[in-house]
Assembly symmetry: C2
Homo-oligomer: 352 residues x 2
């Protein structure tokens, strides 16, 4: 069956199953057929300054990071807008990957621009400037060929736009939502509507506190789960991620200790890309839900993709990333987080 | 053999093997014979304010937290000093546990006092006042009966005092060092001498950056390991702990998500108590070193004891803690951190 697949790779790629490049060492991964991942979010040009370096007008935006990460696993259907100044090379790159650009609008005007500076502790940053450009009048239009995507990532954009997307995607099997402080503060009622309609929410600890007014993260997460969410993922930057499930699941995914963090921008979006990318390669349970073991494994993949993205500015590291690299880091995370599951204090030693 | 042990419990307690109270549900743990744990550090009266509550002149100090935590596992030999105002009830409590007080000096004068206030994010605090009291002229004298302790915790005191202890304990099998920003800034050469002579160092990320002048934790840890340490543990507060070994080991111990953090004071000392307490119950390898699997398991025990201490002010939660409680939390940490160790991207699904 593997031979058959390898032999028919080119044909199969036309049918919606993709051949991932550069994985000769570990054979080819056959993806679950016709499972594509839809993302709606920003494509931007970022100017980012860290204590050690600076990059100007590099490819950025949540949807860019997500698409590049998730396309390592499966086909991504991208919905976003860019201006007439958007560099052609970025489109060429996505065309070299299983990223469907049918939903990428091109409009007269300026591409969204974002400027930020990181603190010495790279878990904190200040946004210095935001130029919405063509996003000012953006409305998400989901092409008909995208509507069968069972997996949906609502990247960090206005809650009103996220609601528009949900209206057009009533059949999605798993919907994941990201947001930020700005919407918690200025668009709370709309954001609440979105939270009540999705399956999983990604938030930082600070965002949980802001939204729930709970000082305890555990209490805040419980409040969020009571809104109907199946899962809440707490993004902890360099500390990894926590998964809380409405079924009582708690999972603490280990962080990967990076020698050098070049730029953490996009780590949360790459996390979502690794998470949904992985889930797109496994079968859900008969009822259509993913098993909790697969959800946990997805969180680990999210951490892995999130760690890689920090190793370079923009999507630099994701461009060259292969599934081989993911496998190596996965094994490292297994080794660094598993410990004796059978310890009990009944130990008889040094018998006289 | 268990019956024999239970039957002879009282006698054995006289010989240095201790019967742990309150563990009927899980049988009794037989400790490794004659393995005691020595701690040198502060015993204090703490006044602590959190955003939600305040406690005055409660039992505090690194050695207090450590002794109470580690004595759940095995006998602790305590070296510290208290003033003539030290409440008798605290001594009575330790007498009810396997805490040897032969090395606890009582001097005319005031017990060490520490006052601090926590921020809304309880991972940060400000020290408001420190009154050294009888610690001003303290010198550590190790009673002869303590000198065979193979496990040694140098809690956070002046590096010069820590050196005095090391001089008196040349046979220790595993020495663990804690310190703080004050000594990094004011006693750097002495602190360096201590680091070069111990096996394991506990530090926060900020302390690693301060001491090594490296912005990368991984690079900072490597610099520390190059000083001759076997292990560096990075204390991450509510995010758990990271273990780095000179042998290349990396281990990320999961954090336990507390519903409510009452007071994080002493979490690092209770961590050390759980770590060395656990190691005191297992046999080292033939060469005298502990296996890396036992070191990892010790870090998990450290996290467990550190999490319990946050559930109340002072040593409140540790007073009533039983090994049953530890077992339950251990299992929770296994469940929340282990994931499919066998994932590979070779998955053949949806065969045609």
């Amino acid at each position: 069956m593997i031979d058959d697949f390898v032999g028919g790779a080119t044909d199969r790629a036309q049918e919606g199953g993709f051949v991932l490049p550069g994985h000769q060492n570990i054979m080819l991964m056959e993806v679950v057929r016709n499972v594509t991942i839809l993302v709606v979010g920003s494509v931007a040009l970022d100017t980012v300054e860290t204590p050690f370096a600076r990059v100007e007008e590099a490819l950025g935006g949540a949807a860019s990071y997500f698409s590049t990460a998730a396309s390592l696993y499966n086909q991504v259907n991208l919905v976003a807008v860019v201006g007439s100044d958007f560099p052609r090379e970025h489109l060429d790159f996505w065309c070299s990957r299983p990223v469907n650009l049918a939903g990428l609008q091109m409009q007269e005007g300026k591409t969204f621009r974002w400027t930020a500076r990181y603190h010495m502790d790279m878990n904190a940053r200040d946004t210095l400037d935001t130029q919405l450009g063509v996003y000012a009048g953006f409305h998400a239009v989901i092409p008909p060929e995208y509507r069968s995507s069972p997996l949906l990532f609502l990247a960090n954009i206005q809650p009103e736009l996220q609601l528009e997307v949900l209206e057009q995607m009533p059949q999605a099997r798993l919907t994941v939502l990201d947001t930020m402080e700005l919407w918690i503060m200025t668009e709370r009622p709309r954001l609440t509507e979105v939270i009540e309609r999705v399956d999983m929410l990604l938030m930082s600890e600070e965002e949980v506190r802001q939204y729930t007014h709970q000082s305890s993260i555990v209490a805040g997460v419980r409040q969020l789960l009571n809104m109907g969410l199946q899962y809440v993922v707490i993004k902890q930057g360099s500390y990894g991620a926590l998964l809380f499930g409405a079924d009582g699941t708690y999972f603490s995914a280990p962080s990967f200790p990076l020698e050098e963090v070049i730029d953490p921008t996009g780590a949360g979006d790459a996390f979502a890309g690794g998470f949904l990318g992985y889930l797109s390669t496994v079968e859900p349970e008969p009822g259509g839900r993913y098993s909790i073991e697969d959800i946990k494994c997805g969180v680990v993949h999210g951490n892995i993709l999130g760690s890689f993205v920090c190793e370079d500015f923009s999507i630099g590291r994701l461009r060259t990333l292969t599934m081989d690299d993911v496998v190596v880091r996965y094994q490292t995370l297994v080794d660094c987080s598993h410990f004796d599951p059978n310890w009990r204090p009944i130990r008889i030693r040094n018998k006289v």
